[in-house]
Point group: C2
Chain length 195, copies 2
């Protein structure tokens, strides 16, 4: 089973039900200067290419009912809307989980801190080091949550994500577990083999 | 010049700079029961088909910095994100206007009421009767605003819409000015001739 987590980075996890391995993780970088509509197109395009390359069986995404304010909620909504569209256009079902469900599934405690989540991600995926980006780690966590819950997430009913797809920050793009490479070395056309 | 207004219905207006005529207007209906992601795909698909059929020169959209609450702002954002994506994927530029700019352009007064806007839409477009749906009338208004402002809207920089794409209500779908037909009679494949 291969699950692509989005929250707000992305992380693809493959599992035989007992052991998991990371296929890829990272964050989407968009130009901070261009028109907002172009950034949406870029997020959609990158995720669509990623879905084609990773060929996940489904997408897991964090839902949220809170945001700092209305302005940031509107921004989140735009980015999350095009991300969900990329998944549904690829014929994938979308499972949604609350932050507490994700932490409980990964750490065993619904109010776990981010560093605890990162350490468990490293452990569960047998990585040499945890993803440098919290966004990518969160995406891997939601994917693992979906696997741990047996794919029983609330499918496409909940509506909200915690944060917009990141437009800045480091890019811990990993083509193989524990071997982070730079974003530049990734080519959307490159096929990722299933291990 | 042909402008497609989205707010949160849609309305396409053609103009020679002096006189305007309505090409089409209406609201997008989505299933209220299915997964939210399917509704986003439906909004995106319908708008993409509409853009193909109407062949507008650009898209005009209302921006907004307010929403009733964070939850409705998140919902708005999702719908508006996929609507903007449909436009940018068709290679169209997106101009954004504030509610006050739109009212000033159509009625001449930035704090005009909705019935005043509807009456002016009817007058400016030579319609037998005003669009029954406020959403469709608002969309025609933002298109007229773009024409009146000489296409000088703030292109793709502002971020927000007033309301989500409507998921219910009447559908005053018009294939010709002043001759509303039902949504059912519209086929996305049908070509709309430029008068």
């Amino acid at each position: 089973m291969r699950v692509l987590g989005i929250d707000p980075g992305y992380g693809c996890v493959e599992s035989d039900g007992r052991r998991h391995r990371m296929v890829i993780c990272g964050t989407i970088q968009t130009s901070a200067t261009g028109p907002f509509s172009d950034r949406l197109a870029s997020i959609h395009g990158e995720l669509a290419a990623l879905i084609r390359d990773c060929a996940p069986d489904c997408v897991a995404i964090e839902n949220l009912f809170h945001a700092t304010n209305v302005r940031s909620a509107l921004l989140l909504g735009h980015a999350r809307g095009v991300a969900m569209l990329a998944a549904v256009q690829a014929g994938l079902s979308i499972a949604e989980y609350t932050p507490a469900e994700i932490k409980r599934a990964v750490v065993g405690y619904g109010r776990a801190e981010k560093p605890q989540v990162q350490r468990m991600i490293k452990l569960l995926l047998g990585m040499e080091r945890a993803p440098a980006s919290h966004d990518a780690a969160d995406a891997l966590a939601v994917a693992i949550c979906h696997i741990h819950s047996g794919g029983a997430g609330k499918k496409g009913q909940a509506l909200f994500a915690r944060a917009p797809l990141s437009s800045k920050g480091t890019v811990p793009f990993c083509l193989e577990p524990g071997r982070p490479t730079s974003w530049r070395s990734y080519r959307p056309g490159r096929r990722l083999s299933r291990a």
